[in-house]
């Protein structure tokens, strides 16, 4: 795949795409909202609220964790998840940077 032509994609482009992918599913956005509302933790509560099976929710949590957006710790038999605010701040600024950098170039459409 992608057999190098002129340019490869930059690291920034790839990072942003990875972050975007983590947000590219309504379930994962819903999870982030829940974690933010409840301030923290929660685990099986997410399963109760979402229209998905437990194993599927677990999978989404894993993806969010892999993307660095959330942190998780084990609490006895339960699992506690919460938003990783530092990483979140980073993503936020990267997105803002993308938007503003695109915008400041030129704000006219040609077609």
């Amino acid at each position: 795949m992608a057999t190098a032509k002129t340019t490869e994609f930059t690291q920034a482009e790839q990072d942003l795409a990875t972050f975007a992918k983590a947000l590219a599913h309504p379930a994962r956005i819903a999870i982030l909202k829940i974690l933010a509302e409840q301030n923290a933790c929660i685990c099986g509560k997410i399963v109760e609220v979402l229209p998905l099976a437990q194993s599927t929710v677990s999978q989404h949590l894993k993806e969010l964790k892999n993307a660095g957006l959330i942190k998780g710790t084990v609490e006895g038999p339960k699992s506690c998840y919460c938003i990783n605010w530092e990483a979140f701040e980073k993503i936020n600024s990267e997105f803002s940077f993308l938007f503003t950098s695109l915008k400041t170039q030129n704000s006219k459409s040609c077609c």
Copy 2:
């Protein structure tokens, strides 16, 4: 798929996920950058720069267009694309809204 449990996903969650999905590939982010830099248009130039086949680039352009992020017009045998700034502004504010609304709830991690 998603056999309704308690809540379905909200429209806002789905919209955001759709936008995120449009940005979830380095090629599409690269395309947006190129369009912003060149202010507008371009078509085969994108193919020259990206490490992808022409048909693949065309596919990505189509996805960006479907997501409403870019506009396209035909100019003779060529195709002219440019960023749809209105839609872009909307996405930008939706993302900002997500980030800030999550953040303002509570900024403490529990785990």
